[in-house]
């Protein structure tokens, strides 16, 4: 059984290495991701961000422009998740400590 598990892991590793050989090179202008239009004919979001983010938000930091401007709903949700985690830690841990004291 252990040998089978080991074989499966090796097999998946080989599969990943084989698949990584088919990825496009970094910064390849002809890759599907970096093209102006997707194969279906619609405009790619990445090309729009690269071209317009400085004009729109006046910041050379494209990552921040996407994170806090174009996708600001997402970041608001992330921050709410962090606050909820803090509140849950507060409620769970403080409550139990008080019960022990009484």
């Amino acid at each position: 059984m252990k040998l089978v598990n080991f074989g499966i892991i090796i097999l998946f590793g080989l599969l990943l290495i084989y698949a990584s050989a088919g990825l496009p090179n970094r910064g390849d202008a002809d890759a599907v991701l970096n093209r102006e239009k997707s194969p279906a004919g619609s405009q790619n979001a990445a090309a729009y961000y690269i071209r317009k983010s400085y004009e729109d938000a006046h910041t050379p930091n494209m990552v921040t422009a996407i994170l806090a401007d174009y996708r600001s709903y997402d970041t608001l949700g992330e921050e709410t998740v962090i606050m909820t985690a803090g509140l849950v830690c507060f409620l769970l841990l403080r409550k139990r400590r008080k019960d022990n004291e009484d």
Binding site: T59, N61, V63, A68, A85, L87, F90, L93, R94, R97
Partner: protein, 145 residues
């Protein structure tokens, strides 16, 4: 708790290093809309500079620097800053979180740049306060208030 031994090396190193970490964290938060950085990274560095003091000098001195009862309110204030930025844009005629309607600058692109800055300040405040609050809660130590 164990008795906090006064080790001169940890005391000296942490008290010298912590202000610089805090300064760098502030730089990352406030310059994050223009150079690499942002609220999450800067908030984590600010929390690290507070926690290093608590680890090295003990919780009593750490409480003077940042009382643990401030943790959750400041985290909520950070989320509130983010939310009120969006609501202000809504109030001045735009959509929710559409920074180009904020009444802070003249051209829409500068307004959006400043809107990103406000949002990053909120994120940094919330991340810092919540990380310190989680550290305090896990430690289970509490000041007597």
């Amino acid at each position: 708790m164990k008795i906090n031994e006064d080790n001169p090396i940890t005391t000296l190193v942490s008290s010298v290093v912590a202000p610089f970490i805090m300064l760098f964290g502030l730089y990352i938060v406030f310059h994050g809309h223009y150079s690499p950085g942002g609220g999450f990274q800067g908030g984590t560095m600010l929390a690290a500079s507070i926690i290093i003091i608590r680890l090295a000098l003990g919780s009593d001195i750490g409480q003077l620097q940042f009382p643990s009862r401030l943790g959750t309110p400041l985290g909520s204030l950070g989320v509130l800053i983010y939310f009120s930025t969006g609501l202000t844009a809504m109030f001045f005629g735009g959509r929710f979180l559409d920074y180009s309607f904020l009444p802070v600058a003249h051209t829409p692109s500068h307004q959006r740049s400043l809107g990103i800055l406000f949002v990053e300040i909120g994120v940094g405040l919330a991340v810092m306060a919540i990380l310190v609050a989680i550290y305090d809660d896990l430690l289970g130590e509490e000041s007597d208030d």
